[in-house]
């Protein structure tokens, strides 16, 4: 072996240069949209929801959600008098075709639209073994389809049941908060079609967004606050029976 000290010293800088190249990566081009200037969430005004299913249909159309799977869905709650711990919840086909006339007209009845809560400390991204799901710099929980193994850890980890495995791609899928729309300055498909304004996209980093005034002046709650997930879908007028 005739590797001398001279040869070794020549080799080391080139190895260091290669290592540096590995660590650096390439910067992303993001014209007109600055990811660090947004922090997305949503406001859902339960007293305004009429359960028409427009959001569910629009989501399926905008995002090619397969039949029988839902990135957003509507639940109809029926609470009989004092039994707020045992509400009857139904969601026929996710509320996609609306709801049949209510058999339980007694007691309390209302609709609750649901979707990914785009949690700040999301349990689903923490369990991903390969780094295929993540919270984006603008606060949206996304799945990298080309990296996902379909191991289902995240499906199990989400406390809100917002994820599923797409039967066509066998990868995890979920609400992207219409990332392809909000990065172009549009609102999400579900918010775009909501006829009563029950759903509103909110940019929590934008001081001019009406969300701040709304949060200040209304009784607002997130789903399962005891899970401390940092959920960013805020529900106005939510009954204590909602799970």
């Amino acid at each position: 072996m005739d590797l001398t000290r001279r040869h070794l010293l020549l080799l080391l800088p080139s190895a260091a240069a290669a290592w540096n190249y590995v660590l650096a990566g390439t910067p992303e081009a993001a014209p007109n949209y600055r990811r660090t200037e947004h922090w997305w969430g949503m406001l859902i005004d339960i007293p305004k929801c009429i359960g028409c299913g427009s959001c569910v249909r629009a989501c399926a159309e905008e995002n090619d959600v397969p039949d029988g799977y839902f990135r957003t869905w509507i639940e109809r709650y029926h609470v009989a008098d004092w039994k707020i711990e045992r509400p009857q919840v139904e969601s026929p086909n996710g509320g996609k075709q609306g709801f049949p006339p209510n058999e339980n007209s007694e007691g309390k009845n209302f609709f609750v639209p649901k979707l990914c809560n785009h949690c700040e400390d999301s349990p689903c991204t923490q369990v991903c073994p390969v780094g295929a799901t993540f919270v984006s710099p603008d606060g949206v929980v996304l799945v990298d389809k080309s990296y996902c193994l379909g191991c289902r850890y995240c499906v199990q980890a989400c406390p809100y049941g917002c994820r599923f495995i797409n039967p066509n791609t066998n990868t995890a899928e979920k609400c992207t908060l219409c990332y392809h729309r909000i990065t172009k300055g549009l609102t999400t498909a579900c918010c775009e079609v909501c006829p009563t304004g029950a759903r509103q996209l909110a940019d929590l980093k934008n001081p001019k967004d009406p969300i701040h005034e709304f949060l200040r002046t209304h009784t607002v709650q997130v789903l399962k606050p005891h899970m401390a997930t940092g959920a960013k879908v805020f529900y106005d007028g939510m009954d204590g029976s909602v799970r």
Binding site: L3, A15, A18, P27, E28, G53, F99, P195
Partner: protein, 165 residues
């Protein structure tokens, strides 16, 4: 100081080769943008954002259909976005000449929102369509962009109080 230094040089050479091999394999298998923002592939953000849109958004609709906007401003449906009833019109907005939206069946579209259901907010206008209209299309009496009947023809409201709802 070291006797037979050659075995140390051999060991160093093996280590250096292993390090270079590791760096080379890492470059080959780890995507360039992995780790830029966190433990994920930053380029995925652009992949997801690159998807094409289906719903044009009501601002685009209002750019051309100003007559409908004026009609809607006179009635309660001013808050209802166009694509809530007309469906996704992104392709129509891209090519208005050749992609025409289909005509809507108001007997189906209106009842999605206005069919009575006890879970709907009490203040929201609801009818049992069978009792209200007997299955005839809603636009027989109501103009969907401006649905209140007396808005359009004040005289008929008194003649036909049933239609007032």
């Amino acid at each position: 100081m070291f006797k037979d230094i050659e075995h140390l040089v051999r060991l160093a050479a093996v280590l250096v080769i292993a390090l270079i091999a590791f760096a080379a394999i890492r470059v080959a298998v780890v995507p360039k943008t992995f780790g830029e923002y966190g433990h994920y592939r930053a380029a995925a953000l652009n992949d997801i954002a690159a998807r094409s849109i289906s719903f044009a958004g009501h601002d685009v609709c209002e750019g051309c259909h100003t007559d409908v906007v004026d009609q809607k401003k006179l009635g309660k449906h001013v808050v209802v976005p166009c694509e809530a009833c007309h469906g996704a019109q992104g392709r129509h907005a891209d090519d208005p000449a050749s992609v025409k939206p289909p005509k809507l069946d108001t007997a189906v579209v209106c009842s999605r929102c206005h069919e009575a259901n006890s879970a709907k907010p009490k203040s929201f206008p609801q009818v049992v369509t069978v009792d209200h209209a007997g299955g005839i299309a809603c636009d027989t009496c109501h103009q969907p962009h401006r649905p209140r009947i007396e808005d359009e023809a004040p005289n008929t409201a008194k003649v036909n109080p049933e239609g007032k709802r």
